[in-house]
């Protein structure tokens, strides 16, 4: 381009600085950025190269150090939890997970992987005093070297976080959303990218696709899919994570969600007719007793009829034809 090596360096540093500024989610000086880009077509090319370089540098740190001699997280099974939930790999401190998905690039990392089957519960006590309670049908994983950065792959979990100003507790989903605690008890449901985050105490920041949304106690964020825009609403903070004490609270929730929550908590398949799936329900379902008893109480609450379906149930319209 006929540029001297010196001005080349200057441009590279300018571009690097802009890339650093713009990469901050709070960046707001877009007019100044546009003005800089307009000065010379070479600026945008230099900016793109700077972004590539930033990503390359970031990738240098995407490798965990060698496994710690003493594992940070310790798994302590609660008294009423059956012992079969203890995972040998987790007890050994470091589990290597052969990842099916590519978004985590787990193949070379020291991973702690925790999973529950539908109907199972499990408590993970972290070394820093934080606690994660996994509801049924849930999978989450974290790097042994970074136990305060949890990747939530599927399901529902209640996070009781020991706040540490220097090391925020972060829950990530595979679409790249980040939940950053501000000292907190919060519940997360992740169903194939559909996300519910409810805060019982403290506050949580949701960060995704350029937006940062602060959630305080009694706030709930609902995102219908990985690409949908999140919506904020109000819930009873006392009811957040109610599944732990044996009740499920719903506020204007689609029956599809109710059915999924029931399946996760009862450990039996619960399917719902398409005709009913979008209907809304507000109220509390008590999980007391055998699954049959729970489901028998649920049907009238939902204004629906219950049909046995193999191991589980089908929720159908009260006037629907018998199966």
């Amino acid at each position: 381009m006929g540029m001297s090596a010196e001005s080349d360096d200057l441009l590279r540093e300018d571009a690097r600085l802009w890339a650093i500024r713009v990469s901050d989610p709070a960046f707001a000086d877009w007019d100044a950025f546009a003005a800089w880009l307009e000065q010379d077509p070479a600026h945008n090319a230099a900016y793109e190269a700077a972004l590539d370089d930033l990503e390359g540098v970031d990738a240098l740190f995407d490798v965990p150090p060698a496994p710690l001699p003493s594992p940070a997280p310790a798994y302590v099974p609660p008294a009423r939890v059956p012992r079969r939930w203890r995972m040998p790999a987790a007890a050994a401190g470091v589990a290597l997970l052969a990842a099916g998905g590519s978004w985590l690039a787990l193949d070379h990392r020291a991973q702690q992987d925790y999973a529950t089957a539908p109907g199972e519960r499990r408590t993970v006590d972290l070394a820093d005093g934080s606690r994660i309670v996994l509801n049924g049908g849930t999978r989450l994983t974290f790097d042994a070297a970074r136990p305060r950065e949890i990747a939530m792959l599927q399901g529902e979990a209640l996070f009781e976080v020991r706040h540490d100003q220097a090391r925020p507790f972060v829950v990530t989903t595979k679409d790249g959303a980040r939940l950053v605690d501000v000292g907190t008890v919060f519940n997360v449901v992740n169903r194939d990218g559909a996300l519910d985050v409810a805060v019982a105490e403290g506050a949580v920041d949701y960060r995704g696709s350029g937006a940062v949304i602060r959630l305080a106690a009694g706030d709930m964020l609902t995102r219908a899919s990985a690409t949908a825009t999140p919506v904020k609403r109000t819930v009873d903070p006392g009811a957040v994570g109610g599944w732990r004490s044996g009740f499920l609270q719903f506020t204007d929730a689609p029956l599809r969600t109710v059915a999924e929550d029931l399946a996760r908590n009862l450990g039996k398949p619960v399917v719902i007719d398409d005709a009913l799936a979008a209907r809304r329900f507000s109220g509390t379902i008590v999980l007391d007793g055998a699954p049959d008893a729970v489901m028998a109480r649920v049907a009238p609450l939902l204004g629906a009829r219950l049909v046995r379906d193999g191991e589980g149930w089908r929720i159908t319209r009260p006037d629907g034809p018998p199966r």
Binding site: E13, R16, L17, I20, R21, V22, D24, P25, A26, F27, A28, W30, D31, F33, A34, L37, E38, N44, E48, L51, D52, D53, L54, G56, V57, D58, A59, L60, F61, V63, P65, A66, D107, H108, R167, P168, V170, R178, V180, R207, S209, G210, A211, V212, I213, A228, T229, P230, V231, K232
Partner: protein
């Protein structure tokens, strides 16, 4: 754009700020296609339900920036860049996983050393930003310096680590 629809909130803002966004998109690499990109942006915005936004205009610019970055990524070079990255990281012939991990860990150690050599403030700023996901304004408050100092600290860290990458690439 769509005269029959009744845009509200952010969609209306997009129409109001059309000129500014177009100017940005054109300079950001869209050139003559800035109108098309803006239309793409409009479709995305009207397709999503409204949400509380601290700064709706910044949100629109961010969305525009993301669209342009996605385009430049997929247009030229996904394959080429991945190939280059792969060769730089692991050599042209893929080594065994164990070998890869060893190389990656060795490089991480070197990166940590380079970072430490930039001084405690630069190193802290980089860690808080890159590894903890903390915003630059918060880091500035924590360190008791201006945001522009944090930017410069990050620039210093990224510059030094970029040189290290060039060294790795040459190996």
């Amino acid at each position: 754009m769509e005269p029959d629809s009744k845009p509200d909130g952010i969609a209306r803002l997009l129409v109001e700020e059309r000129a500014r966004l177009l100017r940005f998109l054109a300079a950001r690499g869209a050139g003559d296609e800035a109108e098309d990109v803006l239309h793409e942006l409009w479709q995305r915005v009207v397709a999503t339900p409204s949400q509380p936004l601290a700064d709706p205009l910044a949100y629109l610019f961010r969305a525009a920036e993301n669209v342009m970055r996605d385009r430049s990524r997929s247009a030229i070079s996904r394959e080429r860049r991945q190939q280059a990255w792969h060769e730089a990281s692991f050599g042209a012939h893929e080594e065994a996983t164990g070998e890869r991990v060893l190389i990656a860990r060795q490089r991480l150690r070197e990166a940590e050393a380079v970072l430490a050599a930039q001084g405690p403030r630069v190193s802290t700023a980089f860690r808080r930003y890159r590894l903890d996901g903390v915003g630059q304004a918060v880091i500035a408050r924590e360190l008791g310096v201006s945001v522009s100092s944090v930017e410069k600290d990050l620039q210093k860290a990224y510059r030094a680590l970029s040189r290290l990458r060039e060294k790795f690439d040459a190996e």
